[in-house]
């Protein structure tokens, strides 16, 4: 038992925490994909922008204002990106939209380099969640514990939103059949905007948790977590909300176990190998076939 708490517990804790963050980012991917059939490559960068906004916001305003401000700016960015870069391509082939997403990602990264000068920045300490706590004899940050809980809570709210509200109904309709939904009077552009708003909101929340844990913001920091979150979304069955969450946790935990075993060279490769394996064996992912779960 002693060896378990000393060796495995920190690994598991770190894995669950990382998994929760992947899950929050993965939701943004999965929701957009569910409706638009678009891999939003810029999502990881929107997440990074949230980190930088927080960094700059804290220098001019107190924390309790900076947090809502960051969320607001991130959501606005997600909304604007959709309106400017994806909406004009609504009738274009899917490949064009994906290329546009890659272009946006390229633009956001270059913009961040330009504005910040490429200097990695220390993320501000958010009181309470950055405090140290002791769990089973292991010291860790409170955010490590909060992340999975908050993730689950947010997802339950999200599921409620989708199952019980009118906009949720519209989302489900749009993801089932885009054209028919439009014919039935669903305001499709509004639904899509709403999807991006929710996705960006979750990315902003994810960024608070992520950067409180890892403390440094640099322009490309979001790329890898973004890609991994996408893998998580595919793993769980893209378009499925529970799938994204389960996928996020599985990947987060697996990665940390591999690192603990001393094979960290292969931890990224493993994530992608897992992806290819899943795609080949079960192209729809773990929860992919349950159509009613799609958003």
């Amino acid at each position: 038992m002693q060896t378990f708490t000393q060796t495995m517990l920190p690994t598991l804790l770190a894995g669950i925490s990382a998994g929760g963050q992947y899950a929050l980012i993965a939701l943004g991917y999965t929701m957009v994909y569910g409706i638009l059939r678009l891999i939003n490559f810029a999502h990881g960068d929107i997440f990074t922008v949230a980190g930088f906004v927080m960094f700059y916001a804290i220098t001019v305003m107190p924390v309790y204002l900076a947090i809502p401000f960051t969320i607001f700016v991130t959501v606005l960015l997600g909304f604007t990106v959709e309106r400017l870069a994806y909406k004009p391509l609504r009738s274009a082939p899917r490949m064009s939209v994906m290329i546009s997403a890659i272009g946006v990602s390229y633009l956001l990264q270059n913009l961040m380099w330009y504005i910040t000068g490429g200097q990695p920045q220390q993320y501000p300490v958010i009181p309470w969640i950055s405090d140290k706590v002791v769990i089973l004899g292991q010291e860790t940050k409170r955010v490590t514990v909060i992340t999975p809980i908050l993730t689950v809570v947010l997802i339950l709210i999200l599921l409620l939103l989708i199952k019980r509200t009118k906009i949720g109904l519209a989302m489900r309709a749009a993801s089932r059949d885009f054209e028919t939904a439009r014919l039935m009077g669903v305001k499709i552009n509004g639904v899509i905007s709403m999807t991006f708003v929710i996705g960006s909101f979750l990315a902003a929340v994810g960024s608070f948790l992520f950067f409180s844990n890892y403390s440094t913001v640099s322009p490309t920091v979001g790329t890898m977590p973004g890609l991994k979150a996408f893998v998580a979304a595919v793993f769980g069955g893209i378009g499925s909300i529970p799938g994204a969450v389960v996928g996020g946790f599985i990947i987060g935990i697996c990665e940390n176990i591999i690192r603990a075993l001393g094979y960290s060279t292969f931890s990224d490769a493993f994530t992608f190998a897992l992806l290819i394996l899943v795609l080949c064996l079960k192209p729809t992912g773990l929860f992919g076939e349950k159509l009613e779960e799609k958003v």
Binding site: P10, P120, R259
Partner: protein, 396 residues
Amino acid sequence: MKKLFALLLALVMTLSLAACGGDSGSEVSDDGAKVIKIGIYEPSSGANGAGGKKEVLGIEYANSVTPTVTIGGEEYQVEVVPVDNQSENDKGVSAAQQLVSAGVAVVLGSYGSGVSMAAAPVFEEASIPAIGCSCTNPGVTLGNPYYFRVCYLDPFQGSVLANLAKDEFDAKVAYVFTELGDDYSEGLGEYFSQECGRLGIQVVADKNPAGNTDMSGFVNAAKNAGADVIFAPTSTTVASLLIDQAASAGIPLIAGDTWDDAVILQAASKSGADVYFSTFYDEGASQAAADFMSGFQSWLNANSDKLSNNGGTDTVSAVSALGYDAYMVAIEAIKAADSTDSATIKDALASVTYTGVTGDVKFDEEGDVDKNIIFIKGVDTDKGEFYSVKEQGLNG
């Protein structure tokens, strides 16, 4: 029709841009003063952008201190030509070529050994000597007759740091944490491990895959291995992630020259980590070093742009000092050559001696300097300052 229009538009754009590009390349001094150009081959974007900018600042400061040089009895204005190699080897080649195009006589840089190695053939082809500031990998000068450098090398640095681990921490087990795919990091880790083998320190090693931001797993592994110190020759980006985690585990950190940076100061002060690193420069080492520090700081504070390039603080990074020395060495070589011809300057470099702010500079046949002492600094987490720990050499 629309397509034709697009094509035309693109053509017009291209041509106008080509015209602009042509202009910026060749600037001839209007006031009749003769100009000699020194190229700055440094990253100002990409993974090493932050460090590269600081090195550029050192060079620019040196340029403001010594803006002219006398060649053949005539006074020449020294013009520095910066170019961004974006920290990437494939971008570096054309950046280096851009300097050749600009007609520079000497090149200074780069931060990061990889880009320096990529550009070496370009400079050799054009017979332009290059003086590396903080590229510590042996491969930079080895087999590259046109590359020189003013800093010490990784084999030496790695060994010294292993000795530090032995002397200061009485380490039995060291956890060596390097960045996968980075030759600076892995090279330094390799030399450190070799020396540990000689000193009887057990080494546990792991590598961080590029882009990974989760360091807790590594710190846990270090803890489980019973490591007395973590040796982490990493970029500042990875460093600030690691410091936080190592602080909570209570393991002291030892690192290489890249950690002499304001980012480390912030990260360590915030978390209360125990951080030691090797560096090229110590303001208390000599009068020249102290003068450099005060001069450089007031120069930085006089210009907000410069200050923001230094990361918003006036903390002096060792790479700035190296940039300063590299520039001064280049000036000495130009004086000794008494010519603007780059091949002549290259020959003169081989015999230049100069006492810089980071120590004495005299190149050996490989183009390296013989510096046998390394400054070790630590972070005073209460005051939020760096302090000098000691000058560390090799034992026996």
